[in-house]
Assembly symmetry: D2
């Protein structure tokens, strides 16, 4: 039976996840809105040691500076009281009509400026909450009408925007990294930065690639049919995994943001395995939301379910590494994986057969708890 | 720890699954062909109480009647020796160039006749092996070039073909049902009978719908992004589930035919749950194949892995039904599901909230073996 | 240049299509709501000879009978003034929280009764508008938590519900058919009646299958990766195509409801080809909505674009049938498609080669306007 | 009517495209193999000014150096005779059993060495044919069993392999670039370098990123549901588009490699538009194959169809740029896209409305040839 290791592993949730009201494109909200301060306290009370937010989750757009500072002070009080920290900030400007054709990629220069101003204001909020990361999911930076904008121009506008935000952070001397959260589509027909790979390739073209990383969302990888663990591996390999958003997603569907563990059991195991094996130090953040059929009271069960699913899977990873047969099969692989000593000419002949079929079945049994 | 219940549950494999040589569209075969008689004996020795076959798996196309009868006699000897039975027969005519644009839907009347003759010959083989079912996966009955054939005409040709085969079986007085195995695509760009629903709708247009059922393949449902348990439910609801092909399939990919349990863990649980809850009497048939990286020796581990996965999932179903909290949640649902006594006017007001979030999490825990 | 054949072909739109306000799951509405009466008049003024509606589009839920009758009278006045007719009615109860876990499949008997009462009230509205069809897209009749309800039970509840609605229509002596509009998923994780095939198979289990047909939506077929023309063919073949919803949808995405012609050009051609070739008499209904980036003024351009796309594609169908090379290739196919006179034994030997590659290329050229 | 501009635009085909025999995972070959020398001459005779090859297309694995040189001499003679050039070389080692678990990522060090030796031999062949590019589609560099290999290790092995091949080319002083062709899956369950983005991100980690680019295949982007034009844009934006493989692919299916123009009409237009607008100088290479229903004679019609489709779409691009209404709409966009002169504070207020709905409809009409 897995036991909590809260001392070593930080769980985090987006404030928006528990503030979600259950509306969807075909239906009205089904539960009352949770106050952001209650969200902070409630998360702290239910196992989260950190939270992520859109600045607007806490501070309604159009608030005065006085109002902003009051809300931040209140949030900080909750943080002090509960010990919860803010690990990342972003902006939900994507909800607003003015950005309907993009923030940083808008065809209107004025809107692009507005987007940068909004991001800078949100960066300030993140700084005031001691967030070490400003994460940008540019949910409107995409297109349905490819005739309206060259995708090459879109990438140049994104480059200019990210360079400017990076410069802003540097100028303000904020100890904050910048990150990109890719997604293939939704709400736009296509988003320009669609996968981990596209984010990594794009970052390499920035003025200061070393300031910018990626935040990967499990469901976003699943939406493109990619292997989520491979997405994480690309970011880890590049030394650029700045955050992870865990949830679940059935294939071939709209963005579902299901409770972690609600689908994709095996893929989730391999993502957890990679994070644990590589001793990735960041928070395990959940970006999901309760079902529309869940009421206010069910929210905290949802929160506990996400955390519990991670702990169970992390325990499975430990079992995998302690299973004698698994280790024997991996040792056999390892024995042949090391380059041979002499630089002799490669021999011909067939390749070795490793017991992959058995190894994969053992993963199934470990997942099922029958080993 | 689940224990085998071989007395009550019949496991079956297609002969072609263990005879598969590991070739794929980009690569040559990686293992030697298993002799069909060895396949029969080997399956019997590794937990299968039944097998399914394409007539051609046993009897090479073009064999004489003498050769056919000799091979059938040999197969029957293996069956007698081991107790394994043949639960379904079909034809692999889809491999042959002459049927490249379809068997029963071909634009060439002569080819359609050849296809029916081939099916009838295979029906004879099935009868000689005491198969109670002749299952047709019309792998070439589809199209890439929709201009070449009206899909309405294709359905009419399929109708005429199925009616003729049904009449043949009746005329021969074979105690045999006919079934359709749907698939959305591959190897054709689109297959005309794509899902459980399409098979069921089509069967309703035949002369004797009561003679014809469906065989559902897990991976084929997954390829269309449909919920495999819902596919099975449609067939059960219609009283037409004549067979089930179990395997695994990652989404958004070519037809993978992975080992049962190799992916889709939760969907597999719900398929097993439905089969067990409805006490569906048919054989649990596996239509998968070992990885291309598996050698001859690994085949039997693959076979055992499929069976073991089913048994583990069936045991999970039992646990689900014995879990006190699950049963309490289901009882609460059941209490409100029954129609109220009086026929009073429907009240207004919000719907009840059931603990779906918790119930789904409990499924996760039961699957993980942590309850 | 195609010319309008408004005399012979009826175009229709859902009122909700032009009333759509541009909201999406990540963003607020971007345009003002169009009044339903203005929608009726506007559609009539922009080329539509018919409209479809959800009863609630015209009559807000909770309206009194007096208010209902006043609104219907006003709608009928617009209809008389403009000549536009109502070709189908449905209900948008799926938006309301009480039906969040289903209408006819709800686990709460009381909610199932409420759903039937709502449908019956909407049937009355349809009758008062002379709609010959009541079309049910049961957008909430699905699940995310399969443990909460057996899918077999769900189908039985749907069967009972449809039988009851059919009986209601019969009892009221309304000259109205009932139809089912399938969709694989969204807003629910899975919908129980997912494709044309599933609707057709399900209808065969009703008390009066002859009263019930299907309304097919292009995008819904595309969401499951099925060939939309084949979906239409299944319904035509079964004699059950009661309506068609035309739009566009890029693959592997949320339900986009793009303007007809906005994607899927070739698939759209083959759907139009089938409807025209089979002289299907029903209205060509568009169920799409303007982009979120479109304002109120752009709505009518959207409407005209849908109609224009259909007319262009219908003209392409005519060209296809008049193209000498196409006809020569089809004649060659036809020559071999007819069964040979004598019932001689099927010859062996390879199949004929038809010029499919050329035929498909000619479709491309006809679509491009370069023939 | 579009006219050939063979003087300015180079069309190319993989030799394997016309040598394809029509086999698929469920069916045997349907046509005789074309000799590679005949393929070269045939392509030259049917509009191609260049070809691409796998070294093994020309030189069977295991050939002696003498045999290799003879075959190269013969190929060069065909090239001289016809004027066709070789624009890229690769290796089809992915067909061979020894590489069944990967070439550069194999768990067996010896196999990794064999893969590099094979690539180096193929690089030599490319050099002897004056190919300016060596393109690697590592079709086996993926996995089904994620437990068998850390994806981070796989990326490190790929990095070491690419660095070694780059060093080999430098050491040999070949005037040759190296490129990566990404694909999400098939034949492996997942390939490690899955999209344009992943290739670009990976290249940034190599010792000499400036030596390595990407070759994008239309169908591979479509398989992941990504926008193919956006994939091309990422490579162009990064200055790394070294090649393009054009074909067609219906969504949610196995790798179809359909004739260019056979599907995805609008996406194909936007890819051609980008290549033409950016005056991308490389060859327009087709990597498709004739239908399995096509015979030997149909191959050249297939070749001509691909080229013709490109020319038609390129002509559509020209029309787009000459259409007065399109240009007026784009001018309006451009007017607002330029940054305003003064650095004044961003104004609030709604965004401008551009006529996207109309613009997209005009693309439809231009594609249909009705403008």
């Amino acid at each position: 039976m897995p036991k909590r290791e809260t001392a070593t592993r930080v769980y985090s949730f987006g404030l928006w996840t528990v503030m979600n009201r259950g509306a969807d494109p075909f239906g009205a909200a089904t539960r009352a809105a949770l106050d952001p301060l209650e969200a902070i306290s409630g998360l702290a009370a239910h196992g989260a040691a950190a939270f992520e937010l859109h600045a607007e989750d806490l501070i309604p757009p159009g608030s005065s500076t006085v109002e902003r500072d009051r809300l931040i002070a209140e949030a900080r009080r909750r943080m002090t009281d509960t010990g919860i920290v803010c690990d990342a900030c972003g902006s939900s400007m994507f909800t607003e009509p003015v950005f309907k054709d993009g923030g940083m990629v808008s065809n209107e220069a004025r809107v692009r400026r507005m987007a940068l101003a909004r991001y800078e204001a949100a960066i300030d909020v993140g700084h005031l909450l001691d967030a070490p990361l400003f994460n940008i999911w540019g949910g409107r930076d995409g297109a349905e009408v490819d005739a309206s904008r060259s995708p090459v121009d879109a990438l140049k506008r994104l480059r200019d925007g990210f360079n400017e935000l990076d410069a802003y952070i540097t100028r303000q001397r904020y100890p904050m990294r910048l990150s990109i959260e890719p997604k293939p589509n939704e709400p736009r027909g296509d988003l320009y930065i669609s996968t981990a790979g596209h984010a990594l390739g794009f970052i390499a073209t920035l003025e200061h690639p070393e300031h910018v990383g990626v935040v990967l969302e499990f469901a976003h990888a699943a939406m493109a049919g990619l292997n989520p663990a491979h997405e994480v591996a690309h970011a880890l390999y590049a030394g650029k995994l700045d955050g992870i958003h865990l949830n679940a997603q059935r294939p071939l569907r709209f963005d579902q943001d299901l409770r972690f563990g609600g689908a994709n059991l095996k893929d989730s195991f391999f993502v957890v395995k990679l994070l644990e094996e590589e001793r990735w130090p960041g928070p395990r953040t959940f970006d999901a939301h309760p079902y529309r059929t869940t009421d206010e009271e069910g929210i905290w069960g949802f929160v506990e379910g996400c955390i519990r699913a991670y702990e169970i899977l992390a325990e499975k990873v430990r079992q995998f590494h302690e299973d004698a047969e698994v280790q024997q099969l991996l040792a056999e692989i390892k024995r042949w994986a090391a380059p041979p000593q002499s630089d002799e000419r490669p021999a011909t002949g067939p390749g070795r057969i490793f017991a992959y079929e058995r190894l994969d079945h053992l993963v199934f049994e470990i997942l099922m708890g029958t080993r």
